[in-house]
């Protein structure tokens, strides 16, 4: 593991755009998974994405509602996670070293692509 860097979570990480190695947008950093090292200092172990991660941070009725629906659909309370080891650069955007298809964090996108968008002719052409 390379030398650790110190970050202000809110300033540098939370709500930043995550992009993959091809420049594709993955998600926002909806929440972070933290762990404590041997010295008792917290460090980031994963980026959490999706409504189950964002809901509690947005708060209010809308936030709780978002979380509940997502949990009901997915069958679990745990939000999808991107292991922080995948992160190669932290700047204006959080760059990952892998491609979004190799992770499994976009179940809604994948489902919609499969069931709806792919079925419409022309879905392979950008304009």
């Amino acid at each position: 593991m390379s030398a650790a860097r110190e970050f202000d979570l809110e300033l540098h990480l939370l709500d930043r755009q995550v992009v993959d190695a091809d420049g594709r947008m993955v998600s926002k950093v909806d929440d972070l998974e933290l762990n404590l090292d041997d010295g008792g200092n917290p460090y980031v172990t994963a980026i959490l994405v999706g409504p189950r991660a964002l809901g509690p941070r947005t708060g209010g009725h809308l936030g709780r509602w978002m979380t509940a629906i997502a949990a009901r659909l997915a069958g679990s309370q745990d939000p999808p996670r991107i292991d922080f080891g995948h992160v190669v650069d932290i700047g204006e955007e959080i760059k990952l070293g892998c491609r979004v298809d190799d992770l499994d964090v976009q179940s809604l996108e994948d489902w919609i692509r499969e069931k709806v968008i792919s079925r419409i002719p022309g879905s392979n052409h950008a304009s």
Binding site: D15, Q17, M25, K28, R113, S118, H125, A126, S127
Partner: protein, 409 residues
Amino acid sequence: MKRIFGVALGILTAIGGFVDIGDLVTNALVGSRFGLSLVWATLVGVVGICLYAEMSGRVAAITGRGTFDLVRERLGPRVGMANLVASFLVTLLTFAAEVGGVALALELATSVNYLLIVPIVGVAIWFVIWRVKFSVLENTFGLLGLVLIVFGVALWKLNPDWGDLFRQISRPHKPTDESLPVYFYYAIALFGAAMTPYEVFFFSSGGVEEKWTKKDIITERVNVFVGFPLGGLLSVAIAAVAALVLLPANIQVDTIGQVGLPVAVAAGKIALAIAILGFVAATFGAALETGLSCGYTVAQYYGWQWGKFVRPKEASRFHLVVLMALIAAVGTVLTTIDPVKITEYSVVFSAVALPLTYFPILVIANDPDYMGTETNGRISNFLASIFLVIIVVASVAAIPLMLYTKAGQ
């Protein structure tokens, strides 16, 4: 040479794309009831939209990212969510109004009932969003909308007393048969019609779609500062011909058909046919913009892949949101609520939502972390701050005035 062509195209597109159903209806309505005594509100609105469009375009060119992407990052998920809900709902309402507007304009051309035309319009809108290239989409409807200059021609043919017109514009006074609350209600409506929130989302997202960079800032500025005011002049022309033809005849505009009558009276059938083409182009173009903006706002907040610049398969959620917004818009019109009424409400609610949508742009455009050396200058900030006050006043007064005047009756 190519550069000049590009700039000219941009300006013409900005002029033609400025007017939408809100401008058409509100300016004609106000002209027919208040003459030119509320033109000041349109002019203030035009200055405002120029300021904020320039800012949001500059933000897109420097950061390469869309408005809502940055709003959530800079102001947090809570404020971002409030912003999103308000912006999305207002944009969706405007989308429904534009879809209705296209159908009504086509009804005038064909005398086929507009409810039968609406589903076809819906399919056409979706098809264009799905298959037509972004720049082609923008340029085509922008240039076609330019034919609304026919309103300027009609104004000239009516041979008005120009001195009297300028006097009415420069010395705003409330007509004796209208009350003060109604006067200010319509000032707010005109303001909301000129400073539509979706314009900001579309302009900045469009900048990303077309891959603007720092070099494009000058072009973008020229488009905005030349194109939008000229577009605003078109709005004033629409109000002026209504004031000259409809006001003396005691006609108060509440249908699109009445909006075109002054053109026919002044310049005949061919001019009216051109005006109808302009109506269709302006409203269809605005429908595309509002539809795409519904997708841009949601996708950018959540960090989904968005945009027409990638294959639809790679931005499935974005395209689904646009499709669902379209279905909702078409559905709203099919409930047979008068699209002109939808339009009147959409401009007032636009005014209500303005502070939420513009304040974040102001914050980001001033942030050197995002903008580097291209933050707002002192003049921009001075003007933008004045406008923030105007926007907040309009927003706060809008709903009470709407209730008190029963939506301007």
